[in-house]
Symmetry: D3
Subunit: 247 residues, 6 copies
């Protein structure tokens, strides 16, 4: 069940049986020479929608631009200041809490978002400690990264024993190819596996260290059919976790 | 051409031939008993994507949550504080300008966004007046509402001589049905045509005046095939306008 | 009745019979080679004070600096960032609401303010949706532009069938001359009627397109006596509208 | 010379001979049972305008609402959050600096503003330390309270050997009566001289301690003719000081 | 009693007998060629801790970085934007008020902080006027500068009849030497007594006027034993004042 | 070498041989019935100062209040809103970068700070991507938690094979006892080892789950002599790491 494809009476009805909503959250940023800029938004969105189809859980709109300052030397990357992102996430959370949602699961597709998402949660609790609303009912924000779901690490290790990598990974690129098969690219990359180097700081530093944008990965391994399998596995794990939260 | 479905080298290539990007911007808010909460985001997104397909113009990700405080008494509506929206739009605009985009066309699907979008533009120019970047190259933000495009008003008047309305309009609902035909609802509504009353203030006032959310409309008239025609017409008009801006 | 010329017991007394206040809101910005920088603040202030004299309605202090980034290439223009203006207007509105005013009529003299004023209203309602004060009594913000008042368009068309224009208009300049007759200038301008061109973006762009600051106007037509007539007409229309709001 | 009554070419001309501008800054707040809410804005405005008439110094628009949280339990008082006031003052200052003003004299009428005005100056310097503009030309903000001008303390002591007070003082009320003689009130007050008590904290505390709003004063002593004398004296002192700053 | 050296049950116990807390607040900024950068934080901290030892009053952690933009041309100086400092002080104050502290005494070591501290208090009261918490119990913020305590001015005048000065004063440097005797420096400075000049504006202006950072002082006079005496005297005065506030 | 105990010429001298500074960053929050509220600030401060003594590295003042909303139901805990903390950390970082420090090592004592510290780094890089200062020299922010230093985990496992825990850990409490031996408490706690439960959300939830504040720990095991050993080990590891960063 997608919030954006629901009517307000349907949401009202849903809230009688569940207070939980899954909000995909990602980023718009370069994913190497063959990966899509929207990769980190597409992955959680696709998995969450699949999970919604399976289980009927409510899925919110995708919070699609995140913290990606380190990718800004590559054309097309977008980013929010962390302080803007905290403000925007709190606006979303307050609106959802106002309607009665009390379990807000932010389902994340971008490692670079984790810190700011958690900071946004602290901001949310900070303000509610002082001014509880919702008739005092407790509202909980939860962060879940899709790659941490049950079964995903194992599946990726099996699919890509070498060259899975850290950014523009074979698995995330495969997920996007499963949605947009016409975008699949499997020409060999140079170097085949991108380097892993010392930590980066700003955007210029990132580009010097990772000239084509990849970190440690060989996304030429990515296949749409692998992506479909990952989506299926992740969606089932997500459903199971959500059932745990509902209980 | 969609930014989120492009690679960074493709964006770099695009910028050699055009500095223009269309950014769909909408809202998540109730659209009456049968309209989708995502209506105002879906409409500009669908039209912009179609225009991108026709013309090759770059289309950014959809800025999907806007100013909708007056809909907050209906379940599922989300909103940003205008000051948050100004901050977020400026983050997007600064990132795009950083890459060399100089014509940012915000393609809007929600009347309630117009004021804040224009305020965000003034904030953008304000800061750039004092600290011009982009080697001093001028960056222009433009607002375009889909319903103001050439030919749309006439088409809507023809399709819905009565009951088109102001919120949850027959035309916007038809556009969403053209994308999600399984969501089409044509059961009669009561009253058939929603009332138009004095201006509303806050969310409670809105709900009192417009108990089912509609203003002056009869969205039971909406048909997917009409929506497809509206999308087609709007997309062609948008392409034409963008060609004018490119010239 | 002017707030700044009242004592606190007089305001307390006023609030027993009316909850309405008119707040003139304008801008400090160039108005062509012969128009005053304060034009957009002076016009609503003068009209509102006259309306207050006629009817006894409370008139607040003038919010005198607004959104004028596009005039910043002309000496003496001032402007607020829209986000600052939203914050300041909300501080004023919260204070007035705290005292029991529930009908806040922002009486505007500057087209460039409209977007940010409406954004400020949304911010106001946004915060009150979540944290209603005033014992829950509804507070309404209304925007009224002086040139939109009943009878003004007709009067201006009659007074200035040609050369009324869009910025540094003959009518607004005439209003200021009615207050400051010693500032009246009627020497011919070159060109007689300023051009109207494509929309502007930032301050540099505005100055290139409108080198002396006027848009489409011939303010050499402005006469103090016309201004007095405009003020009289506008004040009477404002009184009538306020009586409607009081009812 | 008033900025709001000048044209942009006149401001441009002025800047060739002087970089100094005086900006009256005040407050809208209760001034006891007989004092005007606008007292603290009117006093610096009237004195600055008189000084402008004498000397030709440029006088900006009045920044009329300030820090007055402690007066909020009296009807009609307005106030800005200090953080809003810092933002707004910096917007004004940046605009003036952009045009080439380098000596910004904030001419203050309200003791409660002093802290925030100085904080705003520090914010201004803070940002300019890191990002100097104006071709690196130094811009200086100066605070001047009207009651601290040469000769004023002596004059007030002579006029009001008893009952001058600290808030709603005989002298400030007299200045407003000199401008608005029809508002003069000389009925005896009870108590004749308002008490002076321990420092106050918030608005409720202030009202408990000073039930009619006055602190230590007997404004029934205020006479329009005294006010005129104070204005004259203050204006001459201000002119002299400005000449010192110009040198 | 130091908050940072207490356990939470001890704080809970303390709040049964007192609602008062002293919060040292200072600055990190140059103090001339021989004074410590932490001088303005060390002084109030040392005195407050001594007062806490004598009387058992609760002493909070030191708010150690303040408003010091004018010292930024000297290596090692740190500073907060006044708007940041207002936000941070309010976060501290809200937390303390949440626990039941109602008398927050900010014990200050830096003249440059005074304005912003008072602005922060107004921000605190502003927000509490509209949304009182603590079951409506009144919370009071008080500012106390250590050099204004009973007996200090006299003691400094006696210890340093010449060369006490205004910045990097002999007395404040002596206080730091009493804590860090190994840092004592008594080599003659050139000039012996630093100049006092016209008021400074930004950091560059300060450095031009005061090339070694001192204003009017000869800190080579500072001796650890004098500092110890000052600390003792100030601590006793502070205890006495706090007992007055408790009463 | 401590920044707060240095003079500005000493800092200037230091910057000729090193651009690195270590900034201890902690929290003020409950640490169980026997742990100090300042534990998370004291630990990194003590270790950093020891490392500074050994190696001569510059150590900044301690950023002592952090993100601790979840501890707010225990008396004495303080916290910053994450957005305030981001602003304050950026003020510190900009000041340090202004003086020429390019390696800012934030040495952290509180797990709850990690997210917001990393968000603050992204904010820092975000702004510098667009407006690089320091003559374009790259400035790097690094986060280092003291418990992650080489050798610490092993040492703690050896010292406390059982009951080390997650909050109010035996090791952090021991470090504080090594500094404040008079505060050592070794009475048995009930339960001996605090529970570990499902993740907490807001402050009320934390208190319900962890009624005395501890998570999984038995701090009655903490001994001053163990703390001294931990400090020694951590300081040596930190020195080694800093030498690596300097290289």
């Amino acid at each position: 069940m997608e919030l954006q494809l629901s009517t307000w009476p349907e949401v009202e009805e849903y809230l009688k049986r569940s207070k939980l909503i899954v909000i995909p959250i990602g980023s718009m940023e370069q994913h190497g020479p063959t990966g899509l800029i929207g990769t980190d938004a597409i992955c959680p969105e696709v998995i969450a929608h699949k999970a919604g189809d399976i289980s009927g859980v409510m899925v919110g709109p995708t919070f699609s631009v995140g913290v990606a300052q380190h990718h800004m030397s590559f054309s097309g990357s977008l980013c929010l200041r962390p302080s803007t992102m905290i403000a925007a996430m709190n606006d979303w959370a307050n609106a959802l809490a106002h309607h009665g949602f009390t379990k807000l699961v932010w389902f994340n597709g971008h490692g670079g978002n984790i810190a700011t998402i958690n900071a946004a949660f602290s901001e949310f609790y900070h303000l509610r400690n002082y001014a509880p609303a919702n008739n005092g009912e407790r509202v909980r924000c939860t962060l879940r990264n899709w790659w941490d779901l049950q079964g995903i690490a194992e599946l990726c290790a099996k699919l890509y024993p070498e060259g899975h990598g850290q950014h523009a990974t074979a698995s995330e690129v495969a997920v996007t190819y499963s949605q947009y098969p016409e975008r699949q690219r499997n020409d060999p990359l140079t170097p085949k596996i991108a380097p892993v180097r010392a930590p980066f700081s700003d955007a210029a530093d990132y580009r010097e260290k990772y000239p084509d944008g990849r970190i440690g990965s060989d996304p030429s391994l990515a296949r749409a059919e692998d992506g479909a399998l990952i989506v299926e596995t992740a969606a089932r794990s997500l459903v199971e976790e959500m059932q745990g939260l509902e209980a």
